[in-house]
Symmetry: C2
Subunit: 507 residues, 2 copies
């Protein structure tokens, strides 16, 4: 029998953790797309058990021994060698989970069940007082969790590090100051213009034709259906069970065509990232978020979002795209779109109109929704804002940023599921995705002079190949900022995003 190397022995342990986490993802996908209603309760048990098993495998004595041996064996490797990084990532995750007691995980899970049903009731009745005590406990447990993980400047830093390593309350504050200052005048210009015609988006669009167009579009963008599939879900998502099985979902609104159109483009962007990870990284730390306990190839939530936003907004929500592909859409929906031009269609899907609801927001106002949430959850975490004062603070921020008066809490502070599930710290990643997408596009255009001409001709292979080479194939080997520095010469920078928004919405 051949003696296994210490690294191979460690990677075998990591592969088992990856298998369990991918299995959890299959169970989650099934529960949101296929599962009959009756299965919900026991599916909850199954997912909880698999998550516990993954953590136990990671923290087992066998993994600890394999990890120590692997660390000794890579001591002489170059600091950024792949094998050294694999070992370091495992060590980091090991120490992370060792610091969080199982009792705290159980408390958070138990609270989540209670908080979610309270939130559903509170939102239906638009009564914040029903949700408030659960949110108080959620914040308290998030504080306890942050204290376990450890933080220096702000307790929020510990939470955001799970989703977007490297970011802190302070770094986000600086980023958001620049964005707010840059975006306010763009928004003012856009709002000062007459609203384009958009009534035709709300006509009757049969689901089968929406699906056919969506599949055709996803294929054009490079989504490989021999390693994927498209299904329907109430809250659309992308999920991968290794790079070789990457599934997307969408929601068909019969009376609002953009929902499935841009939703499918968005999830396709996520899927391209996962399908593009180097096959050699399958079942390794480079395709496993060992800290978040999630089998994923994207290097951070923000980096992942950058790819979905790039394809959704830079490629599909563009004049070029519809100039080229509107005729196909029109052929499929001749009754509904016969009297519409490509230009009218583009103007309608880039219409700017501030509103209360984040998930319905246009591209330009979306980040304001995100920034106010981050501002508020930071303040909740450090205690400068109480849960009691949260609704008023929410409404004041909406007034300040978008000039709107929130009519009730269900269209205000109660609209998002996130806080009821205990997720605090994931919101910033949406805006980081937007910023990173523009920064990458700027770099690609600079390095690849033929890019715009190819895309204008409907050939997306060059764009996909570049993104695969520069980002996707690396999986989680490099951090988001390492990738950005390699590919754009600098870490996260809001300037290209502001430039992109200005060109699209204020010129």
């Amino acid at each position: 029998m051949i003696q296994q190397t210490p690294l191979a022995a460690l990677n075998e342990r990591v592969a088992a953790v990856n298998d369990v986490l991918n299995s959890t993802s299959v169970l989650t996908w099934d529960s949101r797309t296929m599962m009959p209603a009756g299965g919900a309760e026991n599916r909850g048990h199954q997912i909880a058990t698999l998550t516990r098993v993954a953590r136990d495998l990671l923290l087992s004595a066998e993994t600890a021994d394999a990890l120590a041996a692997a660390e000794r064996s890579v001591e002489s490797s170059a600091p950024d060698a792949a094998e050294r990084r694999m070992v370091a990532q495992t060590r980091q995750a090991f120490e992370h989970h060792r610091r969080v007691p199982a009792s705290l995980i159980q408390e958070r899970a138990a609270l989540r069940t209670m908080a979610q049903s309270a939130w559903i009731e509170a939102r239906a009745k638009s009564d914040f007082s029903i949700f408030a005590p659960h949110l108080e406990k959620t914040v308290a447990l998030a504080r306890a969790y942050a204290d376990c993980i450890g933080w220096r400047e702000h307790p929020y830093d510990a939470m955001v590090s799970i989703y977007e390593p490297g970011e802190t309350a302070a770094s986000l504050g600086r980023l958001f100051d620049v964005l707010r200052a840059g975006m306010q005048p763009i928004l003012e210009t856009a709002r000062s213009r007459p609203a384009p015609r958009s009534d035709f988006l709300c006509r009757d669009f049969p689901e089968a034709e929406q699906r056919a167009f969506g599949l055709s579009m996803a294929g054009k963008l490079g989504y490989d259906l021999t390693r994927g599939r498209l299904d329907t879900a109430v809250h659309p998502f992308e999920v991968s069970f290794t790079r070789d099985d990457v599934r997307i979902t969408t929601r068909y609104s019969r009376n609002y065509l953009p929902a499935s159109l841009f939703g499918t483009a968005h999830e396709t962007g996520h899927a391209l990232y996962e399908q593009g990870v180097d096959p050699a990284y399958t079942r390794t730390t480079f395709a496993t978020d060992l800290i978040g306990l999630y089998a994923v190839g994207g290097t951070s939530f923000g980096a992942h979002e950058s790819q979905s936003r790039l394809w959704e907004n830079h490629v599909v929500r563009s004049r070029t795209f519809w100039r080229l592909h509107f005729p196909e859409l029109q052929r499929r929906f001749s009754d509904q779109l016969g009297d519409v031009s490509a230009e009218e269609f583009y103007c309608a899907v880039t219409r700017v109109e501030p509103g209360f609801i984040r998930v319905e927001a246009d591209e330009l106002t979306y980040d304001f929704h995100i920034m106010l949430r981050v501002e508020l959850e930071c303040a909740l975490m450090d205690g400068s804002l109480t849960v009691t004062d949260l609704p008023a603070a929410w409404n004041a921020a909406i007034k300040r940023d978008l000039g709107l008066d929130v009519p009730d809490d269900s269209r205000g502070v109660l609209q998002d599921v996130h806080w009821s599930t205990g997720y605090i710290g994931s919101f910033p990643t949406y805006t980081i995705g937007n910023v990173m997408a523009a920064q990458m596009m700027e770099a690609l255009r600079r390095d690849q002079s033929s890019l715009d001409a190819e895309v204008a001709a409907g050939d997306y292979t060059g764009l996909a190949d570049s993104l695969r080479t520069r980002i996707w194939r690396h999986g989680r080997r490099f951090t988001r900022d390492e990738l950005l520095r390699r590919e754009t010469g600098r870490s996260l920078d809001p300037a290209p995003y502001l430039e992109y928004l200005r060109a699209k919405y204020a010129t």
Copy 2:
């Protein structure tokens, strides 16, 4: 904090094993119904890891301690008390798996991959020599496995005990002698009759209508779709992820209506068993095959098959059923079945015609296919038959039992997937299912005088209620023969089955 009882502590461990095994079942279901082709390789890793995790959880020091403590705590319970049986079942499984070294499991898994691709090639080329060396290893590893588990009279006893506890080579030999002797004259009578008209079964039946009829039929029989769903699979099966999520699959042959019709009825029977298990038994040993490492509520493979066969053959493949429901089938397929009467349809779907292929066999000849396989695998296991001599032995048995000359090995010894996957010992359970189904029906008719009238009126609730009370709800609490003795006054008895076949095919 309330102190857990020792039994509750053990059951928590068992519940985790059940969760992992149910998760494995979700992965298997997905791989056969939904998974894109690309996902196959890594899905194999995921299923293998979950199976290993389940075994490791069962054999862990924590489970050993909890088991010992629980054994002490139930010492004073009645011998057949539920809690005592739960503990005993866990102990039995613990000892079973402790006897089988992980290395042997790995060897069998590695061989399975090789043997399956060899079998596919061998069957395609009808060349037994390609598969023979793998079958030799399979038999050798099955012998090694049987020796680990332990056996007294025959190595086959150890293998069959996994699927059908209580049966042995000797007990099966006795059963089959009675069946062969009883069935030969029935088969002779049936074959002496002129074949009924059956051409209309091969007309063009669109899939959507087949599916609609199948769903309607499953609903009539009592299948609860809020805890289930019907999908398409190449090799149809039923699978449960607890009683609250029990899924069936079928295969639509556009030019052969009976495939989906009776296939759906068959899987519905399996599903009714699983959906009918006492909810209190969810995630306990009474809903988990801890020896076979399979999350299932049926007490043995044979008992499970008895319920699928009961609904498929006693209920749906009956003159009564088609007298009542043929008009609905005719309405859905007016072009195809407009010139056919209910009686003609019944005669066509009960036509007897010996053939080479087990899965295409009629109800009367099916068991001959099973009995010859059991005879041969017994002989392979004890060494009285070599793999080299197997094809000749197969062909001789088909000639002896069905009077047919096997034209080539792909229609003979190479037709079944079972041996290539290492499953030796599961074949008898098909015939045991047939025998048990008839025995239960005889008892139900005796005790419930209104049963036939209800069924003739299309009311299947009384039948389902009786089976739920007598069999389904008990899950794995009682063995198959314990159930039969409680409900029919005797253990497995072939007489009612022979009586049923005689009445249906030779009167």
